[in-house]
Structure formats: C-alpha cells, structure tokens
C-alpha cells in the first residue's frame, strides 16, 4: 500500500486531465444528487459522496451506442463497425460499483465477447474510493460489496491530509510513476482496515440472511403469485429500477434507416425487463404480459437466474433502484427479507 498527499493526488488528476487522451470523469455534485461526469479540474471531484444517479456502467456500456453503419452501393451492402472503443479514466468508484463492473466483465467479455464493451472496458482505468458515506437505501455490506479486493486499477482511502492507495493492476501502478508516493506505515495500513471495518455500522439496511441463500429462496418463491401481485399492484412498470441498476445489462438493437433507405446505422440502447414491450416477440406475443410477471422476473434474475448462468448474485446492494422508484416497490432488500420471512413463518 502506498500513501499520497492530498495535493499530489489532485496534481495527478490535473496531470491526467491535461495529458491523457482519454476523458477523465469523476464524481461531482449535480444539484441535489451526485453524478459521474467529465472533470474540468480536480476541484470538481467529490469523493465523500453517498451514491451517484447512474453507475459508471455508462462508460463501458453507454445508454445509446451506434454499433455499425451501412451503405448500399449498387447491390452491395457495405457495413462498418462503429462502436467507440475509447476508454475513460473514472475517478471515485465505490466498491459496489466496481463489483458490478467485474460482474459485467464476466458477461460481456468472458461470455459474450462483446467487442464494443470489451474495447471500452480494456481501455478504461478505474480509480476506486473507499466509501465514506452510506446512502439510506444502500445495503452493500449485506451483499459483500461494501469493500472489494479487486476490480480496480487503484483504490484510494481518505486519511485526512493523505490518501492510502492500493495498487490493483500494473496499469494502476504506472499511473503513479510520475507522482510522489511513499510506502504506507503499519499504522496507516491499520487505519485503512479500521475504516473498512467501521463502515459496516454505517448501513441502515440489512439483508436478514446470507445472499448465498437467495437462489434457493427465490426458486421456492416462484409460484407465490399472491406475493408478486401484491407488489405489482403498486408498480408503475416504468423501468426506472432497470435503468439505474449497475448490473442490468439488457439492451435492444434498432436499425435506424436514413431517409433514402440505402444507408443507416444499427444502434443499441438500454432496455429493461419491467417495460411492457421488453418480452414482446414476433406476432405480438408477450411472454411476460402481466406486471406481476415482470416484477417477479427482475427479482428472480438478480438473485437466482444470473447465479445459475454466471455464478454471481447480480444485486450489489447499491440501493439505486430503491432511491429512484417513485412507487416505492423496487427495494430488493425489503422484497428478499419479506420472502424469507414468509417462507419461515
């Protein structure tokens, strides 16, 4: 573990903004919320935030993205891959969001070999930050994502006048090359461990059982339609919970023609299983027509289906879905705890 003076960390970020060809983005205040956005200077960086509106997923899998363009000349179609391979330097990522990106890596890189994702991801640098503030709805400690040991290039912890820096990758190490750092003392290493340990007390919300039990619990709850319908009655089916989720990765692909019909582009955009048309297929058949089916699907997917396919529980406990749900029915912690209680009643 290294230690860097606060002013040297600022200087490092200024240096990256000035000289790195990639866009440097970080957490900053935006009205009453925090967002990841382009940094004009290190001063804009706010590292003591609780939760950002969207996760940094948007830098590796943008809300909207052109995948290819096409042109017709005579009877030949010429297609060109257009997805932007440019990475970002992302500063201030909380551990649960790092866990979410590691999870997406498994899906998009290891499994789907999705080039638009892979290139952006591999060209990006993630600088994590130990949580200093916990959002009301966050239950990352329960999901084991309040702290992480991997998924970052650098991980910084605020120690006051200095930051402890844990080097996660060779690329992270190289970033520090021209910056003044020293090795951490035993006390400083101890202090980081204490901060991480104390963090657990900061969470108001807690899953009442180990998340490893989720797949079994959900499998047993699949047919409990009374439970799901009860929730769905209040659900607006607006898809907000999907859109703000750091691990939701579903998308739709649209062919967008130019007026002449001979050229155009293929675009993908985030889609979500709560939206009515998400499961509509050819001939208009919708295999999750009822809100209750869609509502259930989201919870099943986070806690069971994804586990079956990729070995992860797909909820990192960030609490964004809870925070943004105007109908207040999206909280995984509450839903899972209620299911568990019902099953043990």
């Amino acid at each position: 573990m290294k230690v860097i003076d606060r002013s040297d960390l600022d200087a490092l970020i200024e240096e990256l903004i000035a000289s790195d060809p990639r866009d440097v983005v970080g957490v900053q205040e935006d009205g009453e919320q925090y967002v990841f956005d382009h940094l004009e200077s290190a001063d804009e960086l706010t590292l003591d935030y609780d939760l950002t509106a969207l996760s940094p997923k948007k830098y590796v899998m943008p809300q909207r993205e052109t995948l290819l363009t096409y042109d017709r000349t005579d009877d030949e179609y010429e297609m060109r891959a257009e997805a932007d391979p440019t990475g970002h330097i992302v500063v201030g990522v909380h551990p649960y969001d790092l866990a979410a990106i590691e999870h997406l890596d498994k899906i998009f890189i290891d499994t789907l070999q999705d080039e638009p994702y892979r290139r952006k991801r591999e060209n990006s640098v993630l600088i994590g930050v130990t949580m200093q503030d916990v959002a009301d709805n966050c239950f990352a400690a329960s999901m084991g994502t309040a702290t992480v040991d991997s998924g970052y290039d650098l991980m910084v912890t605020d120690l006051g006048d200095t930051f402890a820096v844990d080097i996660g990758t060779f690329e992270g190490d190289r970033l520090l090359e021209s910056t003044k750092t020293r090795n951490a003392t035993a006390e400083e290493i101890e202090r980081v461990a204490e901060i991480e340990a104390d963090l657990k007390d900061g969470f108001d919300r807690e899953l009442a059982f180990p998340p490893a039990e989720l797949p079994t619990l959900l499998e047993a709850s699949y047919d409990d339609m009374d439970f799901w319908e009860d929730y769905a009655e209040q659900c607006l089916s607006c898809g907000t919970c999907n859109v703000v989720c750091p691990t939701c990765f579903c998308f739709s692909v649209d062919m967008v023609r130019d007026l002449d019909g001979d050229s155009g582009r293929q675009e993908r955009r985030w889609d979500g299983c709560l939206l009515e048309d998400f499961a509509t297929v050819a001939q208009g058949e919708n295999f999750r027509e009822e809100v209750a089916q869609r509502h259930r699907h989201r919870f099943m997917r986070k806690g069971w289906y994804i586990y079956e396919r990729y070995g992860d529980v797909a909820c990192v406990g960030c609490g964004r879905c809870t925070r943004h749900c105007v109908a207040d029915v999206a909280d995984p912690c509450e839903v899972y705890n209620e299911l568990r209680e019902a099953q043990h009643a």
């Binding site: 607006c238 898809g239 859109v243 019909g261 009515e276 105007v326």
Partner: protein, 266 residues
C-alpha cells in the same frame, strides 16, 4: 392498423404527401417546417402536393395524409372523411389529432360557458360540437405521431419508414426511461409532481431535462397503471381535484376511452 401501403421510393416514384390542419395550433406542421435543411432531403423522397402552412398549391391526389388537429365540427367530419377516401395512409400528427390533446380539456366543462369564455359575444355563431375528439373517432387512422409539439426526428423516422415500405413505430416505454438516461434529478425529488412515469417516452425527457416536469403531452403508455400512479400522487400530497387537473391537460379523451373499456370506472 389497416393494410395500408404507399408506393415507396424503391418503386422509382416519390409518394405524394399532403398535410391538413384541423382544430389545433398548427405547431406540429411548424415542426415539419422547422426541419429547415432537412426539408430538402425530405422532398427528395416525397412529393408534397398540399401543405397550407408552407405552400400555395393544393392537390387532392396523394397517398399519405398527415393530419394535425382534432375534430370539433360537422364540417371537420366531412372533410376528414374525404381525406380518408383520397389517402392510402392517414397519419395523425400531434396530440390533438392522435388523442384530442388539449382540445379535450373542455370536454368536462359546460359547453356554453366554454364558448362564451373563448368567443364572448360571438359565441352564438359557433357551431362546434360540445366534445373535442381525436381523428380516429371519425376515420380509421393508420399511424400516430404524438407530441405537443411532435418530435421532428420522430416525424422524419415515420416518413423514412413509410417511403421504405416499413411501419412507423413509436416507443411504448415511459418518459422515465430516457429521463434516467439523462440523469435528471427526478421531479418528485425536487418536490414537484411529474406525469413521466406513465407518459409515452421518445422525447428524450426534454421537459424534465429543461428543469420542469412532464405534462403528459405524448399521451399515456399503452397500459398505464393509473391506479398505482394516482396513489403516488396522493402520497406526494395532491388532492383528488389536483390529481384530476394533472390528468386533464392532455389525457381527458384517453382516460374517458379507457374508462369506457373498463366499464365506466375511472
């Protein structure tokens, strides 16, 4: 949807297109004119034979009719019927044509009072129907481009689809989706109310992005959970009267139609 079809650009002939205005502000046609440079691209693929707001010529030989505005008079009905007879494809342009929009605000009010308020002493000479209606209450409509005003890109997208022999489509996800894409602070969090959660998206949440809230101008999504949404508004302190007022601006006709389908409960 009918089995409507128009000659497409691939036939080597540009489809003939006409624009018509009924009761409305003509703001949707203005959006078409506001395409400016792109209008030139547009007339490469269609031949405009009638567009009162933009040209003096008028022809009755057309395949595609874009109709703006709602139906207010018997004359409107006759004129619309003729348009339907002439056109292979009828597209409702804007919220008044698609679902009566703001015009339907008066549907719950006493008609004589409405007339007097708008026309004063001349109100006796007004021969309007007491109820404002969308055009599909009179004729069969093939496609709708909602919005107040319409989104220019959505209009170009619809023309692109039609001239290439495809079906124009509009999103069925609510405004919230694109609003979250934009990372706007939720209007509810700002202490306002917002119709975004059950309003049809496709507008890039333009009103919320500009600092206000969604007024519902694109109409409701296909299957809105209106009951749950009413609860949300109540939780945010709105009275029944205030909630009805929120819904009335654009949705009066849509809500009545839904209520009829539900057996009268609304």
């Amino acid at each position: 949807m009918s089995d409507a079809s128009a000659p497409s650009v691939s036939d080597g002939r540009r489809p003939r297109v006409a624009f018509f205005d009924f009761t409305g502000c003509e703001g949707d046609q203005l959006q078409v004119i506001n395409l400016e440079d792109r209008l030139l691209d547009l007339v490469e693929v269609v031949e405009v034979v009638s567009f009162r707001e933009a040209m003096t010529e008028h022809g009755d030989d057309y395949e595609i009719a874009f109709v703006e505005g709602g139906v207010a008079t018997a004359h409107d009905e006759r004129r619309l019927t003729r348009i339907r007879e002439n056109a292979d494809i009828v597209v409702a342009l804007g919220s008044c044509a698609a679902f009566a929009g703001i015009n339907a605000l008066r549907n719950d009010q006493e008609f004589e009072t409405v007339k007097e308020r708008v026309y004063g002493e001349d109100s006796d000479s007004i021969t309007s129907y007491p109820i404002a209606r969308p055009i599909d209450d009179v004729i069969e409509v093939d496609y709708e481009i909602p919005g107040c005003p319409i989104d220019r890109e959505e209009f170009v997208g619809a023309v692109t689809a039609l001239v290439n022999g495809a079906e124009p489509s509009i999103p069925n996800y609510p405004v919230c989706v694109e609003c979250k894409f934009e990372e706007n602070t939720c209007a509810f969090e700002r202490g306002e109310t917002c119709l975004g959660p059950i309003t049809r998206g496709g507008c890039s949440a333009t009103c919320v992005s500009a600092g206000t809230h969604c007024w519902g101008c694109r109409g409701m999504v296909d299957d809105p959970n209106e009951g749950a949404y009413t609860d949300v508004l109540e939780d945010h302190g709105l009275t029944t009267e205030e909630i009805i007022e929120e819904y009335q601006l654009y949705w009066n006709w849509q809500r009545d139609s839904r209520a009829v389908a539900d057996g009268g409960n609304r």
